[in-house]
Amino acid sequence: MRCQTARQLKPIELKFLLANFGDVRDAVSILMGHFSTRDYMDFDRDSIELVCSEILNNIFEHGGPSAHSSYTLVRWHCDKTLDFEIHDRGRAYPNLQCPVSYMPDPNTLPEGGFGWGLIEMICSNLRYYRVGS
């Protein structure tokens, strides 16, 4: 995430089963419990919460049954920057790429399409990989 700290923290890894939006909310709550400690005081908690929520919601909404029935892994470590890895076993994105992330024109009153734009605005070095079939 786009913020730096002098801290160096060991990696942490959590697994979540995301079978509904309530599971996503619970997962975000657990994650934010970790980020409420002094270790992460240099980082913007609001941004962390928003990005985690958008990504986990995305996995639940678009990953399909295989994402709902298998664990989503969230791993992060802090070595000056806060780096996340999020792994799921859901459906792949078309063309094995993240959706094109542009922010919709607010004047068209869009009711969706903000998620990836927000993620990209807050994060740097955003990458998507598909491993296996």
Partner: protein, 113 residues
Amino acid sequence: MELTLKSQNDRLGITVEANRIDAQAAIKFKDAVHNACNGGQDWVILDLSKVGFVDSSGLGAIVSIKKHLGKNRRIDLASLEPAVEKVFRLTRMDSVFRIYSSLEDAMSDGAPT
């Protein structure tokens, strides 16, 4: 979702009694506000002072409410917490909604004294 309503002249103030409008809450929030707006006041003010988190689904629900009210009715927002204000700013939806510092300010704006 629980709402507190305050009706005054042409205005309806709606205070959202929840701390999150996220993907889990978005549909219930939208339905509750739609029902609250059935009274027909021309000017609706959505007070988000108790809401500490809005994600893209919550934002979409708020936009949907604006569209539901149509062009002849007005909806403004009041009391955005920093995390909520950030979502509106990053998405530039703060250019679409008028944002008041408090519900009281919105309810009294331009009203006869």
